[in-house]
Symmetry: C2
Subunit: 347 residues, 2 copies
């Protein structure tokens, strides 16, 4: 899932997003951040505009996170109680309070297809005791999220227009880097009977082997017939690996954020190893080849490395767009290929 | 002509530029700035890449200015002699020298379809004496530009590929705000037998009636069967007015620059008065209408004022793109309508 933090996948127009990568099929689903939209333009405004789909003109599926991760990573002066989190906006320092009920209320107003329970993201590294305590809070908050969701799910902006369809509320497994806690968290969440489960709290600085281990061990406890979603990953080779381990959904800002910083993903051949190209390097100044000769995206079909380097060095806004579009195509192409390989390998 | 200063119409992808406005026909011709491309990435690099068309992947016509205006408006520590202009780069303070021969050499390396003679742009306001002296220098430089162009025009990057086609060198009428000098300048330039003529040194702070008067009086002395080009104008109602006075070509950064600052051009009805909409205004926060209900551009077909205001306020890069695309469509639609009206009114 490309990330559209503030209801825009940065520098990429929705019409392009519908066509870039995956053989021209584009992005199937995108993510928007509840924390950002709550602060600006405000969920009530988005609701008045008919929900986030209509607001940003995106008809395909969308997911909103719970705001938990952003509150813990972006905002200042957090105060966590069992009730919820008090925090200050990273935009203007104003004081806000998020509880499971608040998060769900905001997510219903936004009206994305998939909403997430409100969770606590424990600092890293954290002791077993601290992680277990935080996990307990996350489970209590998951139930409160579900209860509030069940009570209010029919107030989603497009409820009537879609003949009574509601959002799907996914749970989030926590448990830090402790296998026993991950197992306990997964089991407790599965008892809730939710339509999908995410694995949160990973890719927060731990070694990659640990991420892999936590995913592998947690997947054992999550039902195969429900979507299994690893939040906030990853590099192209990681998402391929995790998909092959059984992960159905992932989201990451990396293709667009790296693109904006001039970092492009390429392969020398389809399925070959991933190479990171820093487009500002002098060696590309005269290079008439496309970013990636195996890529069929609109950027690689039309523009040279020399031109893309020039745009980046000159600070041209088009640089943000073209780099992001190529990286999104790279990610979506990768997942399209992986889906094909998985379909072939299945009995 | 939309302006693509550094070989990019800011924030607008070339594929979009080919389709935006004028009933989907897009921009017929764009302009790039010689001064900027000379400094970065350098004209020799652009030449090695096959010229500016190939470098930026734009197959339709292009025009490069002479660099004169930018040297006089952007650079520091200028020293003007009859030989040329010594100046410091606005990028890094490095010292450079531009003469008519240099400008033409750079423009041949860039290889746009239309090149401009190197002219001095007099400060404004300027006395009759100062303006006449500057005009004399401009005429001497026009001849030197033409001589150098004739000697070297076959070294244009695409000379062989296009079967020996060369660029077209246009002259620039100066003469400040003095009708007698404008007349003298036009007559002197027409004697040079160039394939097109520009009127320069206008829209530099003088009242609009003066601009109109200078254009009207200068047009009398320029041949009707050659393109007549007013440089650096203007607001939508101005370009309509000047086109109806007989001007064939204009260029202006206004549609894209205003767009980047959140200023959008709209009309309540086709051909109606132009309204400037400041999209950041609070009143648009809840406004579900498109920017311009009479506009058929990709932005007005898909996005609301509320969404565009949100993108602008949130500093989203997509804001630059969508605002610029709408304004370009507005300008190109305006000129398409004016061409239709002129065709109908001709005998």
């Amino acid at each position: 899932m490309p990330v559209g933090t503030a209801a825009s996948v940065k520098a990429v127009e929705q019409g392009v997003l519908e066509e870039v990568g995956a053989g021209g099929k584009g992005a199937r689903i995108i993510l928007a951040n509840t924390y950002h939209l709550y602060l600006r333009p405000g969920h009530e405004l988005v609701k008045r505009m008919g929900g986030v789909h209509r607001f940003m003109s995106w008809e395909r599926p969308m997911l909103t996170d719970s705001g938990g991760f952003q509150v813990f990573s972006l905002s200042e002066l957090r105060k966590v109680t069992s009730e919820g989190v008090e925090f200050r906006s990273h935009l203007d320092g104003s004081k806000h309070f998020f509880s499971p009920e608040h998060s769900i209320q905001v997510q219903i107003a936004l009206g994305a297809d998939i909403a997430m329970v409100f969770d606590e993201c424990v600092e890293t590294p954290a002791s077993w005791e601290r992680t277990r305590e935080s996990m307990g809070l996350t489970h209590a908050w998951a139930w409160r999220s579900k209860d509030h969701f069940e009570l209010h799910k029919e107030s989603v902006p497009w409820f009537a227009a879609l003949g009574g369809a509601t959002q799907s509320l996914f749970g989030i497994v926590q448990g830090g880097m402790y296998v026993d806690l991950r197992k306990e968290s997964a089991q407790r969440l599965v008892e809730m009977g939710l339509p999908g489960y995410a694995i949160g709290g990973l890719a927060v600085g731990e070694p990659r082997e640990v991420t892999r281990e936590m995913i592998a061990r947690t997947l054992e406890w999550l039902p195969k017939d429900k979507p299994r979603y690893v939040m906030g990953v990853g590099y192209p080779d990681e998402i391929e690996e995790y998909a092959k381990m059984g992960v159905d959904m992932m989201d990451c800002v990396l293709p667009t954020r790296a693109g904006r910083h001039g970092l492009l993903f390429v392969r020398e051949e389809p399925g070959g190893p991933v190479i990171r190209m820093n487009i500002k390097r002098k060696e590309y100044a005269d290079d008439q080849r496309p970013i990636d000769e195996t890529c069929s995206c609109m950027v690689c079909r039309r523009y040279s490395r020399a031109y893309l380097r020039h745009l980046f060095v000159a600070g041209e806004p088009l640089s943000l767009t073209l780099n992001s579009v190529h990286n999104l195509a790279f990610y979506l192409d990768t997942m399209e290929r992986v889906r094909g390989e998985l379909a072939v390998s299945k009995p």
